[in-house]
């Protein structure tokens, strides 16, 4: 009997050794479960019930914050960054345009040109109109109308000259300003100074865009949020005031 037991023990040793890690697993103690629940609750999951569904970026921001917190507290996956790029809808951009703050567009290229034309159209006449082409609306007006005291387009010399030709009416009304960053003539070494990254600064938030179609309402819009972005936004806000000064100087020059 003893011999048989010993033989069994020796034979089962490798198998029993597995209990070593099995025993390390938590088999569902009540206190531990409560602990997990409290950890999840510390991440304020109830905020998910109060998401603002008007804008996708706000939804994503709320979901991301909770997910990141839950992953970190329960699974110890804490590597997710605090700053995130979120897609923004065209409605959000329009909302930002309707907030009554100054708008700044920085960059060069076809996207900036299209956006400038859009601003030129909606700013013309001090009001906003839905613009259609053959019955197909191409530009839409934000519900509350556009309220932009002044819009600035910061771009390189060549694009600035082109836009000044195109947007004569809005420029004459003084609601739109094209600020050329560069010398008297088209200077390619200067246009590199403005990053290739096209950026719209509206309603106190930065928006990036990736122009794909002809009109801005179809583009991919991105916004970023987080502690780093907030501080970059702080600097960008200051840059706006310098651009405003620069545009005033350009007027002074004439």
């Amino acid at each position: 009997m003893r011999k048989a037991f010993l033989t069994l023990l020796v034979a089962l040793t490798p198998a029993l050794a597995q209990f070593d890690w099995l025993s390390n697993l938590d088999w569902g103690g009540i206190s531990n479960n409560l602990n997990k629940v409290s950890q999840v609750l510390s991440c304020d999951p109830s905020s998910l019930t109060q998401l603002d569904f008007s804008q996708p970026s706000l939804v994503l921001r709320g979901v991301y914050r909770v997910t990141k917190c839950v992953l970190c507290t329960t699974l110890k996956m804490c590597g997710l960054p605090d700053d995130m790029l979120y897609p923004a809808s065209w409605g959000e951009i329009q909302g930002a345009l309707a907030r009554g703050q100054e708008v700044m567009v920085v960059g060069s290229g076809a996207g900036v040109e299209a956006l400038a034309r859009y601003l030129g159209l909606i700013l013309h006449g001090g009001g906003c109109q839905n613009i259609s082409y053959g019955g197909v609306p191409i530009y839409t007006c934000p519900p509350g109308g556009v309220r932009i005291p002044k819009a600035y387009i910061v771009t390189d010399g060549a694009t600035a000259r082109y836009l000044k030709e195109k947007l004569k009416r809005a420029l004459e009304e003084g609601t739109l300003k094209v600020v050329a960053v560069g010398g008297e003539r088209d200077a390619p070494e200067l246009s590199g100074v403005i990053l290739g990254l096209p950026l719209v600064w509206a309603g106190g938030r930065p928006y990036l865009f990736a122009p794909g179609y002809s009109t801005p309402d179809r583009w991919l819009w991105l916004t970023f949020a987080g502690p780093v972005s907030d501080k970059v936004a702080l600097v960008a806000r200051l840059a706006t005031s310098y651009v405003v000064n620069a545009s005033r100087r350009e007027e002074e020059l004439r």
């Binding site: 010398g183 502690p227 960008a236 000064n245």
Partner: protein, 599 residues
């Protein structure tokens, strides 16, 4: 010489060739380099025209604007402009240090406050070296037709802004290189709110029994909200106060003449040729001022007033020859390459024949050198190109004959005559002279590649070098991430950048603890005492934004050469005018320079 640009009246409309458009507004014109004037106590200067106003004036306009179409710019010494560039660098370095140390001190208050604001720990003073001279050929200045022709075979080195990559510290040290008072203003000791609860580990009899998660690199708890608020407050302070100081420093460095009184300036001028040397003076001319959206601050420069060292002069002339030949070889037709000898010989001859060199020993040797350089190759060409066939005799005669022959050829091209016969089958489609462009435009455009020099060289070759400074809007990090040279795999370059970036990270330093519990024979008792861990007494914890951002205007400078009668690049408005934001620095420079220039 004085109204060289008037030559464009003779030229005809062209289909091809350069396009000097209407917005070519500012022309360098008629420099007055007369050394006799200098000896009479007048500062050398040059003249600049505003083309649109000049046209109005010639058209009979009598408005004050049309009257003010001519401007006089005093020359500065190259060395003095380098010193200005150094001051611009120093202003940036001061801002960069104040920005970082304000953020890091405020964030790590009170530890850093004690170290810097109270004890005044400080590294060596900022002392940037004299920035080296770099010539830039601005693409907004060179005509596109020339550029296309010159870069047809291979890309051409156009230089860059002399300031490119210089907006950084010379050494990144773990201590501030400015007086701590500069970044400690209105910063008090701040102990509350509590910033963190230190991470710790517990040892019993030397055996570790517990450690907090992330020990030692993470504290047990960190007040992230307060850290963010502190960084944001410090950044706000840096950008409102310190950045304003930076702009002030730049404006002062750029707009203050050195020396600043006419008496001091005039006392720099010598009384005889022998001691002309190169008086060190910086006489800036604001062209609306350097701010974003305005224009620039310019100062035409000389290396020396008069070249006393004739060997050095010959080296310079040879350098000019090499530059010239290199460019015309790229951009010129066969006939133009031949004419290069004529053109160069004439300019260099004018230089050596000028009255300043009269009777100087050694000038004849230079003339001999010049003949040796030009004679044989030019004569070889006169045999090969039919239109030059008749040119014979001594070198001077050959040269003037060749010049006349070339004008004949030019007229033939314009009249669409039998060009092939004149050139011996070599193609010459475009005229040598262009509308609105004085001189032969290709030779003139090539002068943008010539280095700064002395007054007689400028006069003979017909160009002047300028120092220019202006502000750009830049989006970057501090230290500038774009300073890493990505074009090459160079360990030193990467290491240098990594060090600068590492030493300028935004971090909170926290101290982890070790709690040691031991049974000692004292008589037997249990002692628990905290101590600093072996892992390091202080641990960095990154705080957003981790790396400092920068997105504002910054002062850049460059040196450019401008051919006589051609466009001065990178300026707008009119000289001696300032935008209103700079009026606080507005010395009336025109009034200051009037007694110097005598006009």
């Amino acid at each position: 010489m004085r109204w060289v640009w008037a030559l464009f009246l003779f030229s005809l409309a062209l289909a091809q060739g350069p396009t000097y458009e209407d917005w070519t507004k500012y022309l360098l014109s008629a420099p007055d380099y007369r050394l006799e004037q200098v000896l009479k106590g007048k500062w050398p200067y040059l003249e600049v025209l505003r083309k649109d106003r000049l046209r109005d004036y010639q058209g009979g306009a009598t408005t004050p604007e049309a009257q003010a179409h001519e401007f006089y710019l005093p020359l500065s010494s190259l060395e003095a402009t380098q010193e200005v560039a150094r001051d611009l660098r120093k202003a940036w370095q001061r801002f960069e240090e104040r920005y970082y140390w304000r953020v890091i001190t405020e964030l790590n208050n009170p530890a850093f406050w004690f170290a810097y604001c109270l004890a005044g720990v400080k590294g060596p003073e900022l002392n940037p070296p004299l920035p080296e001279f770099k010539l830039m050929v601005p693409s907004e200045g060179v005509d596109t037709a020339f550029l296309q022709a010159a870069t047809r075979s291979s890309p051409l080195d156009m230089g860059a802004w002399a300031s490119a990559g210089l907006h950084k510290l010379d050494r990144y040290l773990p201590v501030p290189q400015v007086d701590p008072k500069e970044f400690c203003d209105d910063l008090g000791m701040q102990i509350l709110p509590l910033m963190y609860i230190p991470g710790f580990k517990v040892l019993v009899q030397g055996y570790e029994v517990f450690r907090t998660p992330g020990y030692p690199s993470r504290p047990f708890w960190f007040n992230e909200a307060e850290a963010n608020a502190r960084v944001e407050r410090a950044m706000q302070k840096a950008f409102t106060d310190y950045y304003a100081d930076y702009l002030k420093d730049v404006a002062k460095a750029l707009l203050t003449p050195r020396p600043s009184t006419p008496q001091d300036l005039l006392s720099l001028l010598p009384r005889d040729f022998r001691s002309l040397g190169s008086p060190k003076a910086y006489l800036p001319v604001p062209w609306q001022g350097h701010l974003l959206g305005a224009g620039g601050v310019v100062a035409p420069v000389y290396t020396e007033l008069f070249p006393t060292d004739l060997t050095a002069l010959w080296d310079q002339v040879q350098a000019i020859w090499n530059t010239y030949k290199g460019l015309i070889d790229r951009a010129g037709t066969e006939v133009e390459k031949a004419y290069l000898y004529v053109h160069f010989y004439r300019s260099a001859k004018t230089l050596f024949d000028s009255r300043a060199f009269l009777g100087l020993p050694g000038v004849d040797t230079l003339k001999g050198n010049l003949e040796n350089l030009v004679n044989a190759p030019l004569r070889a060409l006169t045999g090969a190109i039919p239109v030059l066939k008749g040119c014979a005799g001594d070198l001077d005669r050959v040269v003037s004959c060749a010049a006349t022959a070339l004008m004949t050829l030019d007229q033939a091209v314009k009249a669409k005559g039998e060009v092939e016969k004149l050139t011996g089958g070599k193609p010459q489609n475009e005229p040598l002279k262009a509308k609105e462009a004085p001189g032969l435009w290709k030779y003139e455009e090539a002068k943008r590649w010539l280095p700064p020099s002395s007054l007689p060289v400028y006069e003979a070759f017909g160009y002047t070098s300028f120092f220019q400074a202006t502000n750009f809007l830049e989006v970057t990090t501090v230290p500038d991430i774009r300073n890493v040279d990505l074009s090459q795999v160079n360990l030193g370059n990467w290491m240098g950048w990594a060090w600068s970036q590492l030493s300028r990270l935004v971090v909170y330093w926290h101290t982890p603890l070790t709690i040691d519990i031991r049974v000692e024979y004292c008589p037997p008792c249990v002692i628990a005492y905290p101590s600093l861990p072996l892992e390091g007494p202080a641990q960095p914890l990154g705080v957003p934004p981790y790396v400092l951002p920068f997105a504002l205007e910054r002062a850049h400078w460059r040196w450019v050469s401008v051919p006589e009668g051609y466009e001065v690049p990178g300026v707008r408005g009119a000289p001696y005018t300032l935008v209103s934001d700079l009026s606080a620095y507005a010395l009336d420079l025109r009034a200051l320079y009037r007694p110097l220039l005598g006009r």
